[in-house]
């Protein structure tokens, strides 16, 4: 089992012509479900309303994970909310994309040394796009969605396939935090402690260097 799935390159599957056509529709019609765990959600209303008008790109909010294509994690994740996020993500239907919003899902942000906070979302769920910033401005959000659209068209945003393929690894990580019983007053262990080299990764996934951005 690959211990460091979160680092693998996204382009692990070739798309055929039909997939390419479907991807065109997928990128033009993205329905979001935003998981407002933290402060990041405050930047979404201006992105959606008159000033920036996200609906231009066919993006809009949806009420339940069943209907949505895009899950936005808008802020820090505690152990408690992680459980809900995982359930919501699993209830979404393929193809689905996960976007980490702000620095908290990337490295814990300003809460990085707090015990109930998850520092690295990509250890538990496949993140297709991360938007850095505390918090990211509407311009940054729109820019990153633009990038996500490009990746969808190119067939690179296939986090859901990665999740399916490496489910055991993700599941083990999830269980490690969700099922722990002893009280811990330190932040959860640093996942980068045994960070593999790029060469090892490439050897494992048989990916040519040239296609890696």
């Amino acid at each position: 089992m690959n211990k460091n799935v979160y680092m693998t390159n996204l382009r692990d599957e070739r798309q055929n012509a039909w997939e390419g056509i479907l991807n065109y529709f997928r990128k033009r019609s993205m329905w979001m479900l935003y998981y407002c765990t933290g402060c990041g959600a405050v930047e979404l209303p201006p992105t959606m309303t008159t000033r920036f008008d996200m609906e231009r790109f066919g993006m809009g909010p949806m009420a339940t994970p069943r209907q949505a294509d895009l899950l936005l994690i808008t802020g820090y994740l505690s152990v408690k909310t992680l459980k809900r996020v995982i359930r919501s993500y699993e209830q979404m239907q393929d193809p689905k994309y996960l976007v980490g919003f702000g620095s908290c899902p990337i490295n814990g942000g300003i809460y990085w040394d707090t015990y109930p906070v998850i520092n690295h979302l990509e250890m538990f769920l496949p993140v297709d796009m991360s938007i850095a910033g505390c918090m990211p401005r509407p311009q940054a959000i729109l820019d990153s969605f633009e990038k996500l659209r490009d990746e969808i068209q190119e067939g690179k945003a296939v986090g859901y396939k990665r999740y399916e393929k490496h489910y055991d690894w993700y599941k083990a990580n999830q269980d490690k935090v969700l099922n722990r019983e002893e009280a811990i007053l330190q932040p959860w262990e640093d996942p980068f402690a045994d960070k593999p080299t790029l060469e090892a990764l490439q050897a494992e996934d048989k990916i040519e260097k040239g296609k890696d951005k």
Binding site: T50, D53, E55, G58, M62, A63, T64, Q93
Partner: protein, 301 residues
């Protein structure tokens, strides 16, 4: 029964795609209208087509066979209703009895209700319960208007009503039955589930009600359902009040005019509480329709 043949079958298949496409086009344009009212750019006018295509391409979940059956029955029933709506003065089945239309529409609603409540989510059922309760509010005014017209013409055929209005604006029923037109405009808003009667789909309150468990192609069918519903209901009003039409583009234009009005109201209204909504429908639409029926019964017009 005797006129069923291959040509009719082809025509009906054509009509089923026509009704879906017209509805989807209107949905896209409607979003554009709402966006412009909110001073936004809005999505492209063909956005609804993209949405439906994408929804059908996604994977989906089902809870049991009743859910599949219900969704198929819903869209099938509504498309069957669309066959009975005269399109630009042409009734494809040779019959456009308004009683059939009113009752056949219910099979669509029943299918939808059945499909979504089979998902087992209480939010869906609450949405359906609200929609049905509201139905008690808007169906009665509509029926009263139809009865008033039936009194005048001695026929319950939609095409008869439409052809009776030919020859200029002055013959339109909108001027002959002004109270009735107001009543039906109010009811139409409730029929489509647009504000202020959008209790059924209250995203922040009951998680979009009936659609809560719909994913992938089920949601796509849900969108198509709304599209065909738009086609049927705007077609109904155009034939009843706006003089029908003899050419297809005039008919479509009139249909869109009806939907445009509805979207403008939708964009600026807040939501009633459910029992307020029903009471409001009875109080205003019901009274107006009853007055219209009385006036027609007494033979003033």
């Amino acid at each position: 029964m005797s006129n069923i043949n291959g040509l009719l079958t082809l025509k009906l298949i054509g009509f089923s795609f026509l009704s879906m496409s017209v509805g989807l086009l209107f949905m896209g344009l409607g979003r554009k209208v709402t966006a412009r009212i909110q001073r936004r750019l809005g999505p492209p006018f063909y956005q609804a087509f993209l949405d439906v295509f994408k929804a059908f391409s996604k994977s989906s979940i089902t809870h049991n066979y009743v859910m599949d059956l219900g969704m198929i029955m819903a869209l099938g029933g509504l498309i069957a209703t669309a066959f009975f709506i005269p399109f630009a003065g042409y009734a494809v089945l040779g019959s456009s009895s308004i009683v059939i239309i009113l009752y056949l529409m219910s099979i669509g609603y029943l299918g939808m209700a059945m499909g979504v409540s089979a998902s087992g989510n209480p939010n869906a059922t609450i949405g359906i319960s609200r929609a049905l309760a509201l139905m008690l509010g808007y169906e009665i005014p509509i029926v009263m208007i139809v009865l008033a017209m039936m009194l005048t013409y001695g026929s319950s055929d939609l095409l008869t009503f439409a052809t009776a209005q030919q020859g200029g604006f002055a013959n339109w029923h909108i001027f002959k039955y002004p109270l009735g037109f107001l009543a039906i405009e109010i009811s139409f808003q409730a029929m489509l589930g647009e504000a202020p009667y959008d209790h059924m789909i209250a995203p922040a309150e009951i998680a979009s009600g009936p659609m809560v468990e719909l994913s992938g192609k089920y949601l796509g069918i849900g969108f198509l359902l709304h599209a065909v519903q738009l086609y049927v209901e705007t077609g109904l009003i155009v034939n009843l009040f706006l003089g029908g039409a003899s050419t297809w583009y005039v008919f479509l234009l009139k249909q869109f005019a009806v939907y445009f009005t509805s979207m403008c109201i939708n964009a600026v209204m807040a939501r009633y509480r459910i029992e307020q909504g029903i009471a409001h429908l009875w109080k205003y639409a019901g009274t107006l329709a009853l007055l219209q029926l009385f006036i027609t019964r007494l033979g003033v017009f």
